[in-house]
Structure formats: C-alpha cells, structure tokens
C-alpha cells in the first residue's frame, strides 16, 4: 500500500472547514489516512460537483480494509513467515531478550507479534507502541518486511 500524505488527500477535499463531519478538512484528511472515516462521510463530497474528487480519493485509499487498533494491516497472502518483524519489534525484545536475538517466542512469552502457522499474527495489540496515541512513531515491522505483507495506516 502506497504511503499517503495528509496534504495529498486535503487537495481533493472541499476545504470549507464546515465541521459537518465533526472535524476541520485537514483533520478529516488525517482520519482518512488512519482509515477512521471514509470519503463518503463528508456531505460535500457526495454532491455531483465533487464526484471526480470522490472517485480519486477512493482510488488513493483503496477498498475498505480490516485494520488493527494500531493501524496494522496484514496481507496474509504475501507473508512468508520469515519472522523479521518479530525479531525487529522493540516491544518483543523488551519482553524477551531471546526474541530480539532471533529465537522465536516460546509459549510463555507475552509478545506483540508472533508467527503462527507460517503467517504473522498480532497477538497483543494493546502492548504495541502504536496503541499509545502519544507515540505513533514506530514503523519497524512494516518498513523491514521484505514481502510488503505488513502496512501501517
């Protein structure tokens, strides 16, 4: 999934800041990226004069996807279970030193990510750094995934 910027989406919005959706237009663009709202939630975009903008926004955002609370989207088809995300995850390492050194987590290790049946699985989203709104900076698992099976919104 291509990385989107707030300004890229803002360009297609009405820029009226009417707050009918509950946010300013820039705030709406931000929530579009995090997939908390859909373009159809803006009443202006449903009008005929904005139909092109609406089509373009839907193209950029892609179909509605199932995301975790941390914004993690896993494409099970692409994942080959290499376990790079499990090793590089900082929280996994804090919970078990051995996981940081490459060993797969054991049954007693309470980790965020683990490989289950050959595919990546988010087992404890609440512990992920991204679950805390004040620290939305960690993108290690998505950036280092060789098959691009993980994306973050």
């Amino acid at each position: 999934m291509a990385k989107l910027s707030m300004y890229q989406l803002y360009h297609y919005l009405p820029k009226t800041d009417c707050e009918k959706c509950g946010f300013s237009c820039m705030g709406f663009a931000n929530r579009l990226i995090s997939r908390d709202v859909r373009p159809e939630d803006c009443p202006f975009l449903l009008e005929p004069e904005y139909s092109e903008s609406l089509t373009e926004l839907n193209r950029l955002l892609g179909p509605e996807v199932e995301k975790e609370i941390t914004g993690l989207i896993i494409d099970q088809e692409k994942c080959n279970g290499c376990g790079i995300c499990v090793t590089v995850c900082e929280v996994n390492m804090e919970k078990s030193q051995e996981v940081g050194a490459g060993r797969g987590p054991g049954f007693s290790d309470e980790v965020v990510l683990r490989i289950d049946n050959g595919k990546i699985k988010l087992v404890d989203p609440q512990s992920c750094r991204r679950a805390n709104p004040s620290s939305h900076i960690c993108r290690a698992c998505a950036e280092l995934c060789p098959t691009k099976a993980i994306s973050l919104v």
Binding site: G81, C82, V86, P105, F107, R114, N117, P146, T147
Partner: protein, 428 residues
Amino acid sequence: MSEILYESVVCPSCGCLCDDIDVVVEENRVKSIRNVCEWGISKFLFTKKFTPNVKRGRVEKPMIREKTLVETDYEAAISRAVDILKGSKKPLIYGLTNSGYNAQKIALSIARRLKGLFEPRGAALLSSYYAAMGDSNFYVAPLEEIRNNADLIIYWGCNPIHSTPRHLARYSVYPRGRCKERGSQDRVVFTVDVAENEMGKLSRRFLQVERGTDFLVMETMMKLLREENAEDYKGDIATIENMVRQMTKVSYGAIFFGMGLSAKDNAAKNIENLMALVKELNRKTRFVILPLYDDFNTSGVIQLLIRELKSPMPADFSGDHVAKNSKYSLLENLHEIDAALVVGDDPFWSLPSEKSDLLKKIPMVLIDPYWTRTTNKAQVVFPTAVTGIEAEGIAYRMDGLPLKLKKVLESEYPSDESILGDIYQRLQ
C-alpha cells in the same frame, strides 16, 4: 481428544534447521505450529512448498513396474530393488540431501558394496567449496558467531527470502548480537545476483552480474584489493569499488553463497575465485564464507564424505577397492551407469534435461515420500516416512552443527534408513 505439545522441535525444511518450532499435535495430525516459516509449514502439513493449501500426493504403497506401476508388498519390492542393483555393473546412488545422517551412511555403504557411484544433489558446487576450503584455510564460523559479530553480510547468487526464509531474522541481518546490539542498524547488507529481487531491495548495495560471469567480478574485486588496475572489467565498476571499500573497512564480514554460482557449469571456477577473494580479504580483516543450503541435510552428506573418504568429492568405487573421488561431479559420465538408486530427490526436475534423459534409459529404484516426475520413470518405488516429522534422524546445519530431529507424528511408512538398511542386508 488429547493434545500433545512438542517444544523446540527442529524444522526439517532448509539448511537453517530452526530449533525453536513448537508443534501441537491432535489425533496424529498437526493442529498448529508456532515460529515456523511458510516453507516449514508446507513440510509439516505435507503440502507444496510455499503453498500450504495444496496437498502433495504421497506414495501410499510400494510399487513395481510391470507395464505400469502396480502396487505390491514391501518384500517383493525389496527383492526387485536388490535384483536391479545386484545386476548392474556400475549403479549410481543419488540424492540423499533430504535424509538423515544414518540413512546417508547406509547409502554410502551400499555404493561401496556395489562398486558404484555416490553423488549427493548439488555436489558440483558444494564439493568444490569444501575442497577449496581444505586447500586454503577454514574460513567458517558458527551462525551464532556471525550473529554476534558480523557487520557486513553479503548474499552472493542466492535469495534467502525464498531458499532459507528465517536465515535473515535468526542468524544474519536482523537479530541483535552480543557486539551488535542494534541489530540491522549495526550491519550492512550487499547482494550480488543476476536480477534485482526482494533481497536487492533490502540491501545497501545491489550488484547485478551477467549469468555465469561471477568469477570476473571476484577477479576485479581482488585486483582492487591489491590496488591494481581493474579498468578492463566491463560491468558496474562503480558499485564494485564502493563494495570493496566497505569490505576492507568492516571488522567482521560474512559471505553466503547459493546455487546461483553453479550457473553455466562455472561452479568450480566461481568457488575458486570466491575463496581466493576471501583469502585476500582475510589479510586485512576477518571474513567467513558459508553456503546457503536449501535442502536440510546437504551439510551432513558432505561431512560424511569427508569423514569416510577424507575428501568432499562425490565417490566413485568402481574399478579397484580404493575410492576415487577427485572430481567435483560424476554426472558427466552418466552414460556409463546402468542402474540408479535415488533417495529423496527428483532428478528429472533438478537435473538439466540432457543429463536426466540418460536416466530414462536405465532401471531406477526410488525412495521418496511424494509423487514426483521421477516416480513415473522408476522401476521400483518405496513410500517412506518424512525424516524429522515422521521419523527421527540426525541432520547437520549449514555451518556443520549436528542436531537431532524429533518424531512428532506416527507413520505407517518405514523410514528411508530402514529401507536402505534392508536393501543393504540383502546385498550381503
């Protein structure tokens, strides 16, 4: 319904032999597996590689060929196999990279008794590597040492994402080591290959080479290391210069090479130059070199040859009682052989057609758990348990560490070790 949990099982799929696999078994079926890659799960569920949804057809009964393959009992199949092998003057024993160490040992004894040829799969590249290693110096290290110390990793002619998926996360680039506390941030990765792949995108530098000309790149690198003129090289000289500069700066480097180096029958030449390059690099800093095996016990069969015959080359027992093994591959003289015993491999898939066509003309005994292209050409086919899942065994990791493979599922099929043992007994 009771569940059985097997912890720290060794995965028998690639040369990494990951030893942290947790398997839950219910009613003699694998219910769930943790820490296993997509290839590993394909092995545990008996499905196609990287496609865990597609079941592989298993050979269910011993079969012998009349006009077509017909099912028979185990004893009849053994006598037919023994007749074929006894009647041949120069049989070939081939494959064995997916068998346990003890099965490989019996297969070597069979080759010795029958005065035949013994060739593991992919020997051309690997034997030349071990031979070059013996000639120069032992530039090897345990994978754990590479994880702890290496700050430069080079993948040459291989794609670990496909051949050994967990290698990157467990032993080379991403794990945090004793002296590399930040993991991948403390390391640099280079890839040399014929086309840019996923690995090339992960690497700091990617060098594209023309197929079969890797030895020229190695020669150029050596020239640059000796500060000689290397302008006669026609390829991407800027990247090579940059790589060489970085190679001399690091404190510990590791080169992993794969089957890409055996392209266009240049395996021996490529390995010779690569070893010379490593030797040259070791004058300035510490460098190690390891092959990346895609079969789980390739290392074991080469170790067996070194132990028994003091040389890693494929063995030729024909002629006198002394084993002649001085050639990197015996498959050049395939027209001389008159029978074959293939264990756990599919030569009609893995060998080039000009070589495998010669195998069509001779009777073949096959020991393999699955239906393959070779099954349709074989005279005798034995079903067998999968080593490491349905049968115990010993396997050697790519750096030479022996590990014990566990048995997690009960199987009605005999192991390849017991089939080979029965054949060997009848030959006496």
